[in-house]
Amino acid sequence: MNDIDLTVSIAGVTLKNPIVTASGTVGNGWEISRYYDLSELGAVCVKSITLNPREGNRPPRIAETPSGILNSVGLQNKGLDFFLKNDLNNLRKFDTKIIANISGGTIEENCEIAGRLGNEVDLIELNVSCPNVKQGGIAFGTNPAMVKEITQRVKDKCKVPLIVKLSPNVTDITETAKAARQGGADALSLINTLIGMKIDVNTAKPVLANNIGGLSGPAIRPIAVRMVWQVACCTDLPIIGMGGIISGEDAAEFIIAGATAVAVGSANIVNPAAGLEIKNQLTDYLKRKGIQSVSKLRGTVKIN
């Protein structure tokens, strides 16, 4: 596998390969590191961090839908201090980049988290798109003016490059993408989950205690690929593409559409070794196609 160049660069940070974990699907790395060496990944993106610990939403928090998952975790996490003191040290043991996904309830909270992260991590991903919390989250993420403002103010506090994670629950994702760029984002990641609902017809109750949740998994892949392609067409920022990637060929599809790197989310939930397997499958794909460097694949879509 050594003859193929898998390195990619996101805003000046070099990832040894384009495979990243999607926030919220591998915790903070402790658990899946029992299944494979996290040094195999381009980067690990941790579960959304808030300033103070959050207990998250009531269970049930997950439902299966056709080729997808609905979740309503609601940003359960132990807060910034715990992350800095515990998770971070563990992650540093691996030879991989660390992306801190931050999800403050207010602009100020996000600024404070970004400031205190300093350059303890390699990249910061600002989540303006979580559908599972009342304040913050999606309210920011669907309004281009808000996206621009929050990006600007958080960027100001960032010592490392800032990735803005976009919501797919919008009429035109190129609007929020451009707003993030204007606000000074160094990279974009997309897509977060689509808002969905499932009702148990035996009880007439929504399966999720939170009633609605975020839809992820292969079901949403065509929407994600379309949005990555649209955003790649309208901006020169590097993109971390995600949404339903479960194989190396899926990863290739996003890169062909214009993504620089890709994140694996729901696949980890089905198979803890998904990240590693997808990396190997992508390498096989590149070999089969005779492509020497993964960056040569980027944006090669041949529009009809």
Partner: protein, 246 residues
């Protein structure tokens, strides 16, 4: 760990309950579970308790409920299954040395208790809907000093709830530990009874799961005022520490 396991035996215990034996090389503890891929068209794994383990052969039993267990039940001897496990924290058997232990199971909750009963001296109280749903009675009889069966409709054994049987059994005052698995109302009642009487009690809880390994935070239950992950901090919890009123 992820394992591709061969099914070496498939039996049907009653109308909707199947029993599989698979080749499995990791030695599990009573109360642990496996997380199984059910087949094409079912995305998430399904958690199933380990019912028994013996020299490389793991046994599990499950009721057909929805799409996942239906697909799983379609497998035959010789087929391969993708299984993650053993997962979770099992029963704490240290506390059950001194007096008599009682396992209390309701419906599909009986399965992890069989594996446990093979390891400690215990009596069993097992509840079922009706006579036709009574399963594994002989299995439990071969490993327990006594087996009490209750059915909801009185068609077999005691007419009523396992908690009624338990309450009666506890009057003898020789029981020092209770291990239970079953529907929520039953577990709640057992927590109340054992707490009132000051008896050590562990419950094996159920919650809808994603990863099964503690990574996705979906499978929580309230324990001492905090959300704990059933797949990682459980599925077995000390009854005292479970907050049911959430």
């Amino acid at each position: 760990m992820k394992n591709i396991c061969k099914i070496i035996k498939k039996t049907q215990l009653c109308k909707e309950v199947f029993d599989f034996e698979v080749e499995f090389s990791h030695r599990p503890l009573p109360g642990q579970f496996i997380h199984v891929l059910c087949g094409d068209g079912v995305f998430l794994r399904r958690p199933i308790s380990i019912c028994d383990y013996n020299e490389g052969i793991l046994r599990f039993s499950f009721a057909v409920r929805g799409e996942g267990t239906k697909r799983l039940a379609n497998h035959n001897e010789g087929d391969m299954l993708d299984i993650l496990g053993p997962l979770g924290r099992g029963f704490d058997t240290g506390k059950s040395g001194e007096g008599t232990a009682v396992v209390v199971g309701g419906g599909i909750g009986i399965f992890p208790l069989y594996f446990l009963s093979k390891r400690i001296k215990t009596e069993a109280i097992l509840g079922f809907r009706t006579k036709d749903a009574v399963i594994m009675e002989d299995d439990f009889k071969s490993v327990c000093s006594a087996v009490h069966i209750a059915t909801d409709d009185g068609s077999y054994g005691f007419h009523g709830l396992v908690t009624d049987v338990l309450q009666g059994r506890l009057e003898k005052a020789d029981v020092t530990s209770v291990y239970a698995c079953g529907p929520m109302p039953m577990m709640k009642e057992i927590k109340r009874i054992t707490e009132d009487m000051g008896i050590f009690c562990q419950l094996s809880l159920e919650q809808r799961m994603g990863c099964g390994i503690g990574a996705c935070s979906v499978c929580v239950c309230k324990s001492k005022g905090e959300y704990k992950k059933v797949c990682q901090n459980g599925p077995v919890f000390n009854a005292r520490e479970v907050d049911f009123d959430e």
